[in-house]
């Protein structure tokens, strides 16, 4: 029982950054814009959190700074993909490469320094009375709780409110949404910025909670795994929760096997999440070969009133 409990906790702690990034990505892609810059945004979020937290020692300031940077980068992405109607795939690649370079440049002075524990834990000893599940939830940190709230809030927002209906409409058919009187371009800006903030927080969470030391390229492909998770979760926040924890568990699996003292070299264990990502996507593609993937219909197609592409 103890080992299962440990595994679940580990899956939550390494899955939370993935969850934030996936939720941000879902919000952006639901509005019809492809988001591939998650890796760069996460790196920028992580380095900003590290720099500001080391400077000020305040979690609030650090998170605000992360939000600020993410808003800025989100606006660049939105300007390119919504206003200029650039190729959204290349746009995301540019974001990834620029984010990687800039974060490495900015993070040089704090590279390798340990960051003190920043995110307070919500201790609720009374929860331990609940059999089994209670122990898991009794000592989680604030950001993890925030991610739980966010999953439910986003699910309700997307599926139960009229704004969510508008969001889905503009992702499936922006022209129809436009005719309905929704300001497609303005809302796409808004959703890109909001999603970018979540992805930035994913980076901050990775740095402040999961591995509290800044190193160059510390996300090691998590942004791209989040991109895969969006497809895996079929653009649904609730499914994103389980998918993120599944991949979080995979991430941890390597460590666990190593701790047991297995003969398998650690390099192969570290490959597990990457290979499983590909296999899962292939399985999904095979299973849904004659079905719609659940992706927004107009994903990746720029929209401008009265013009066709």
């Amino acid at each position: 029982m103890e080992i299962v409990y440990q595994m679940l906790l580990a899956a939550i702690s390494s899955g939370t950054p993935l969850l934030f990034a996936t939720l941000g990505g879902i919000l952006i892609e639901r509005s019809g814009i492809i988001q591939l810059g998650a890796e760069g945004l996460m790196l920028m979020g992580a380095v900003t959190a590290c720099l500001t937290f080391v400077q000020t020692g305040s979690l609030t300031v650090a998170l605000l700074a992360v939000c600020g940077i993410s808003i800025l980068l989100g606006c660049i992405h939105a300007f390119l993909s919504v206003s200029l109607r650039a190729n959204q795939i290349v746009c995301g690649l540019a974001m990834t490469l620029f984010g990687a370079g800039l974060s490495a440049y900015l993070g040089k002075p704090v590279s390798g320094l340990p960051v003190p524990r920043a995110v307070p834990k919500l201790d609720m000893p009374w929860l331990e009375a609940v059999p089994f599940v209670g122990r898991i939830f009794a000592h989680l940190d604030v950001l993890t709780w925030f991610s739980f709230v966010l999953v439910i809030a986003l699910h309700l927002f997307i599926h139960k409110t009229s704004w969510g209906l508008h969001l889905r409409a503009m992702g499936d058919s922006p022209a129809t949404a436009d005719v309905m009187g929704i300001r497609v371009q303005a809302f796409r800006y808004g959703y890109i910025v909001a999603g970018s903030i979540l992805i930035g927080i994913a980076g901050a969470d990775l740095l402040l909670v999961y591995s509290p030391t800044w190193t160059e390229g510390m996300t090691t492909g998590r942004g791209w795994i989040a991109v895969a998770l969006i497809i895996f979760a079929r653009w649904n926040p609730i499914r994103a929760l389980f998918c993120a924890y599944f991949f979080g568990a995979l991430d941890m699996l390597g460590f666990r096997i190593q701790l047991i003292g297995s003969e398998i070299p650690s390099y192969f264990l570290k490959m597990i999440p990457y290979i499983v990502t590909i296999l899962v996507l292939m399985f999904l593609g095979w299973r849904n070969r004659n079905k719609p993937s659940g992706s927004p219909e107009a994903l990746g197609i720029p929209y401008i009133r009265e013009q066709r592409f």
Binding site: A94, A100, G101, G285
Partner: protein, 376 residues
């Protein structure tokens, strides 16, 4: 739709007010719109993009408390100013040229291969495997064998991306990037594990190659035969695209996948072919790097050549001659990035510049398609 004013009739002319949201300036006689027919290729765009990227990154350098002008001057002279710097730039040009050509072929038909880094590593590993498992191969045979093995390894690594894409509808961006990490981890395993040089004082690298396993170099510089490989590949690419049937079909798919499908071209087969070539070229780059420059497989063999290649291909607008110019420029950028380390700046300055250049390129690419239209 209350904000739409009614249609008015004045002097017998019906004027319809513009829809809200349409870009319209206050004085109402011009409208900005996109010209979809215009191909946004303007010759000055790459130059402007590079200049603007230098400007933006200059702000970051200034924020770091340095004057950007001496920094850029140092980068420029470090890369192009001396004979040593120039040959070093050419040495870095070789992998960028081969990888850039590889991704450019894939981008022609909108197959977003970002796995050049992994394919590069696969090629480097395959070439090294030849030297390790056939150490006594005759001198004439060894280099061609290494070339064949590295191209095959890179090509197979590329196919690992193409097969999920064609048969399982898996997004090739995610697959190719995941495979990068897999290949780099495999490389780490070999250089830290079974292939580590026992007399290397724990250095994570294989045994140094013998003279017959190394590519010939020019004089006493580090410039090696790989440059010729790159130039030959460029010529072959130009010929292939322009004068062969498969090349014509590739151009057709690139211009309009729908039309190509109607014309009976099997797109999935072309995706496999293109990824095979793309991976093979990156694999060859890996072989040239281990055999020509480092003379051993070692940890961190590529400072992100595979990623820089993406920008190289875009800056060149996927054009063969442009590829030569842009890979030379980015080779210089990498060397320049290393040379500013002596004045206490991180070499990631060049990565930052690369990302910024790509941003301005894509912004400019669409901006140059905009036109002002007079409304009567």
């Amino acid at each position: 739709m209350s904000e739409h004013e009614p249609v008015t009739q004045k002097d017998g002319v019906i004027s319809i007010p513009p829809l809200r949201g349409q870009r319209k300036w206050k004085w109402q006689s011009y409208r900005i719109e996109i010209d979809t027919a215009k191909n946004g290729a303007t010759w000055w765009l790459p130059f402007v993009s590079v200049l603007l990227a230098l400007l933006v990154c200059g702000i970051f350098i200034a924020a770091n408390g340095m004057n950007p002008f001496p920094v850029y001057k140092k980068m420029f002279t470090g890369a192009f100013g001396t004979a040593y710097g120039l040959t070093e730039t050419l040495v870095k040009t070789i992998p960028l040229l081969l990888c850039g050509l590889g991704v450019a072929i894939a981008y022609r038909i909108s197959v977003w291969n970002i796995g050049a880094e992994g394919q590069f590593a696969a090629g480097a590993m395959a070439a090294t495997a030849v030297t390790i498992y056939f150490p006594n191969m005759p001198g004439m045979l060894i280099i061609p064998t290494m070339i064949v093995f590295s191209i095959a390894a890179g090509g197979i690594w590329g196919l690992l991306t193409a097969i999920p894409r064609t048969y399982f509808q898996v997004n090739e961006l995610v697959t190719s990037l995941m495979l990068n990490y897999v290949a780099l981890l495999a490389l780490d395993y070999f250089v830290f594990g079974p292939w580590k040089d026992p007399e290397g004082m724990n250095f994570p690298g294989t045994k140094v190659f013998t003279a017959s396993q190394s590519l010939p170099v020019l004089g006493d510089t580090r410039l090696h035969l790989g440059l010729i490989f790159g130039l030959i590949a460029i010529v072959l690419y130009g010929f292939f695209i322009k004068y062969t049937r498969a090349g014509y079909e590739l151009r057709l798919i690139g211009a309009s996948p729908e039309a190509a499908k109607q014309a009976g071209i099997r797109i999935s087969r072309h995706i496999l072919l293109v990824m095979l070539i793309s991976g093979g070229l990156a694999g060859l780059a890996g072989m040239a790097e281990v055999s020509g420059v480092t003379h051993r497989l070692m940890y961190g063999i590529s400072p992100g050549y595979g990623y820089t290649a993406i920008i190289v291909a875009w800056l060149a607008k996927l054009h063969p001659v442009g590829l030569i110019v842009s890979s030379f420029l980015f080779g210089g950028l990498i060397v320049g990035g290393f040379s500013v380390q002596t004045i206490g700046l991180p070499s990631s300055i060049s990565e930052m510049l690369q990302g910024a250049i790509l941003f301005f390129l894509i912004a400019g690419g669409t901006l140059s398609k905009f036109r002002l239209r007079k409304i009567r």
